[in-house]
């Protein structure tokens, strides 16, 4: 474990230095959050039909989404992309470590550090001034915490799948961009998944990206009872396993056809 711990801690320490970027990010996300809450408020006022979530639940869901955006939206670090594109990954292959694990650690540290910097201030601001409601019980908060940690792992494993795909393309920007649109659309970050039409619900509940945002958020607001956390974790773990296996397979194949040019 020692090499992986060292890599994680080095990345984490480095990324925590980007405080100005974090404040800019927080400002942007607050601004968008305000617009989105206003849109949903207008939508709730104009409709008499009963909704699957109350307005205040939806507003809380939106602020959670803004605060934890980094988990869903970060692609693959540009440094890792460059490593694969330029062939500097050859160095990583000359180390007595498992490349998949190293990449997973890096993706995890990237998301973890960015979220750690941005989530706290945003949650405090939103709770004090912007209508974010606290979880109904300590159990709900704990359930949310566990599911969020798992969401972080799941998102990193997805990013690792994208990283493995980089070994098959010359320039990886397209892959990474497409690979971040999917979770953005399907995690509930754009429209809370419970508000999607009925015919969508069957699919929306089973696709992996629900585990990134929707399920943890619903544990926070109490839309799912704390007792459901077991089910949520199993759901996330199952997809996590799938992503890891597929990612490892792709990476192994990618490395076999690797052409490190130059020199």
């Amino acid at each position: 474990m020692r090499p992986y711990r060292a890599i994680a801690s080095a990345r984490f320490r480095l990324l925590l230095q980007y405080r100005a970027a974090a404040w800019a990010g927080i400002a942007t996300q607050l601004f968008w959050g305000l617009i989105r809450t206003m849109v949903f408020e207008a939508f709730y006022r104009s409709s008499r039909a009963p909704q699957p979530m109350s307005l205040s639940e939806t507003i809380t869901y939106i602020w959670l989404g803004q605060a934890l955006l980094a988990i869903v939206m970060l692609g693959v670090e540009s440094e890792v992309r460059d490593t694969v594109r330029s062939g500097a990954v050859a160095y990583d292959l000359c180390r007595p470590v498992d490349l998949y694990s190293v990449l997973l650690i890096r993706n995890l540290a990237y998301r973890g550090a960015t979220t750690a910097l941005r989530a706290g201030p945003q949650l405090v601001l939103a709770a004090c001034f912007l209508g974010l409601r606290l979880p109904p019980s300590p159990a709900a908060l704990l359930a949310f915490g566990l599911a969020t940690v798992m969401a972080l792992l799941l998102a990193s494993a997805w990013a690792n799948l994208l990283t493995a795909l980089l070994f098959f393309t010359v320039a990886g920007d397209g892959v990474v961009r497409l690979g971040t649109v999917l979770p953005w659309l399907l995690s509930g970050i754009v429209i809370p998944l419970p508000l999607l039409p009925d015919w969508w619900q069957a699919v929306a509940g089973w696709q992996p990206f629900a585990g990134l945002a929707d399920l943890p958020f619903r544990l926070w607001i109490g839309h799912l009872p704390p007792a459901a956390v077991g089910q949520v974790l199993v759901f996330q773990a199952a997809w996590l396993l799938g992503f890891v296996l597929l990612g490892r397979l792709l990476l192994a194949r990618g490395l076999r056809r690797l052409v490190v040019l130059g020199g």
């Binding site: 090499p3 890599i7 080095a10 180390r95 007595p96 690797l258 490190v260 020199g263």
Partner: protein
């Protein structure tokens, strides 16, 4: 038993070829044309412990491919490769703990971190115990003169400074074999000399086997007791510099400084290569006319101020070797 044994190594790369133009791009979507590049076409050699071998060849000859196979990064199509009794790509983790690599055109240091943090990260990655790490690290810092650089972020280092740090980084785990892929590329004269001195010392005093790929013939001449020349995926020549010279041509150069500029110098047994003011360079074959006889004839006919005999530059030898093979 040799430390590195390579027998009949073969590797082909399939490279997708795109037709030019828009139509070509569209056709490429439907039907990919693939070009086969034979990077290694039956490469064989043995290396003993403590050798310092220069591995040279033009771009695309298969140098880097060989190094990457030896380092366990690439899997060859066929052939035998054993390094310290292991097959690199099968026992990768155990294998890479015994080798060090420097790819001159890339960096293994973390760009944003101070040098010392990259070293400490490598210490953890190689799972080195604190005491031996401290000892190795201090020794490298002393010999490569790194003390002043340790706290500088890598991105602020000059290329020469960075290369010294790269060398140290590749040796922290005390590898038995060091692969240097163009370690002096882009360096100034002073840094080149520093790198060469260090590599020579490492090889002589610590018995580290060094495989040096380079385009810099001065590196080769200064360091290597053995030279392997590769072209189109095959070893064209393997032996000492003297053996390479004997194989390609025994030709020598006579450089004459005359008292008077622009004299038309000629001799029946030698050819003028170039004239530059008072300096005339002649090419001759010592088997046909001994140097002393040639000098005697010239001295009798022309006013000579100074002269010396030398081997043709190694670049020319290599270029001629390629021509012979074609």
């Amino acid at each position: 038993m040799p430390q590195i044994r390579v027998e009949d190594l073969r590797k082909t790369f399939d490279i997708a070829v795109r037709q030019p133009g828009l139509w070509g791009a569209v056709r490429g979507l439907l039907h990919r044309q693939v070009r086969h590049v034979q990077a290694l076409d039956g490469v064989s050699f043995n290396l003993a412990t403590g050798e310092l071998v220069g591995y040279i060849g033009p771009n695309g000859a298969g140098k880097s491919t060989t190094v990457k196979v030896l380092a366990g990064i690439l899997v060859p199509d066929s052939g035998v490769c054993e390094v310290l009794g292991r097959v690199p790509w099968n026992q990768r983790a155990a294998h890479v703990a015994q080798i060090g690599v420097v790819f001159g055109q890339r960096s293994q240091l973390w760009w944003d971190l101070p040098v010392v943090e990259s070293f400490e990260l490598l210490r953890d990655i190689y799972r080195l115990a604190p005491a031996p790490y401290r000892q190795t690290c201090d020794e490298l810092i002393g010999r490569l003169d790194l003390a002043a650089l340790l706290d500088v972020p890598v991105r602020q280092l000059s290329l020469g400074q960075r290369m010294r740090c790269e060398l140290a980084a590749s040796l922290l785990h005390r590898p038995a074999i060091l692969f240097l892929d163009e370690p002096t590329i882009g360096l100034d004269a002073v840094s080149k000399l520093a790198v060469r001195d260090f590599v020579r010392q490492l090889n002589r005093e610590h018995g580290v086997t060094v495989i040096l790929t380079t385009h810099d013939m001065d590196d080769i001449e200064a360091l290597c007791s053995r030279i392997m020349v590769i072209g189109s995926g095959r070893i064209l020549s393997d032996g000492s510099l003297a053996a390479l010279r004997a194989k390609v041509s025994g030709e020598r150069r006579l450089i004459v400084d005359l008292e008077i500029p622009d004299l038309a110098v000629s001799d029946p047994e030698a050819a003028v290569v170039q004239v530059d003011g008072r300096r005339v360079e002649l090419r001759f074959d010592p088997a046909r006319t001994p140097a002393a006889a040639l000098i005697g004839r010239l001295a009798a006919r022309y006013p000579i101020h100074d002269l010396f005999v030398e081997h043709p530059p190694i670049e020319e030898l290599i270029a001629r070797l390629y021509e012979q093979q074609r």
